[in-house]
Symmetry: C5
Subunit: 84 residues, 5 copies
């Protein structure tokens, strides 16, 4: 799993049916790159989270039929980001 920081929500009205109306979040990896994840945990901006990718992401989304390849699995209690 990877460690990322929660950024803004992603507003996306036109989407495939398989994503339904689930909440999407923009996450930032350690180099600042943006990724889109499903959030079944309930995060707020600034939270450090870790994510599962691949088929595990679908299982983690609480409903296997959610068509995601990246899902937030938990909020880290304390995380000191790397300098680099």
């Amino acid at each position: 799993m990877e460690i990322m920081q929660v950024d803004q929500p992603l507003v996306c009205t036109r989407r495939v049916e398989g994503l339904r109306d689930i909440n999407l979040r923009v996450l930032r990896d350690r180099k600042g790159g943006a990724h889109v994840a499903v959030d079944p945990v309930g995060c707020h901006e600034g939270h450090w989270v870790f994510t599962a990718s691949g088929s595990a992401a679908r299982y983690a989304a609480e409903d296997f039929r959610i068509l995601t390849d990246l899902t937030i699995c938990g909020i880290i209690d304390f995380w000191e980001p790397d300098e680099s």
Copy 2:
């Protein structure tokens, strides 16, 4: 899921049967790299979209038997690309 921008369609007459006559799109990632995706949403050039990869891409293609590893999942309402 990753955030990319829609580029031109991909013209490809000779292809494996499993792709049928589905529309293929060239997408550009944030560094300008080209990727090919199935488009079940109906995008236009310049749109910012997010994509699912891996086995989720097949589910998102509306017909699981479509042989894709990258599918457009939605059009982002508003996206300000990163500077870098």
Copy 3:
């Protein structure tokens, strides 16, 4: 799917049974890196193709039991490679 250029065939007499006697091709990505792919389409050196990876690659190989993680899915009618 990724866009690559067809290089030489890969000669490989000792291989796992699951690959049988299928044709293997060396492909070059845009940075010149070499990858090995199954070719069910019938490519020639210099062709620009796009490839499916992951489990989609096995489906695209026309026989799901072919043990590949990269398969050529089609020949692009026209492709102008990036400068970089």
Copy 4:
């Protein structure tokens, strides 16, 4: 599988149900990047381990329903890290 070094445990009280109360470990890859893995082996800080990713990670977690995409598969008896 990849070779990584065990760093601190990851404290994460709020998590998806599918991860239960399993131990999570921060691992460092050879460039110092942090990853989160499930540890069914029982590692200590400083150990060199190798990890399985993707669906293999779920099988390696001893319970296929554990929602991981990275699992420690073994402790390497002796490993001399690369200089670079």
Copy 5:
């Protein structure tokens, strides 16, 4: 599939059960990075091989229950490594 060169065996007494007593090999990619693979072919140090990753790796290991995400699929008869 990727092209790599066989390095030393990996000695690893403590491992998850799913790997059993199968032989593990350290491989070097073209940039010198180390990876761990299952070897059902019988390679020697210095051999150039190509590998399957993901779920294909488990199929290629001759026993689908082997918990690997990287398996050697064949020994390349002749390979001239890239300069870079």
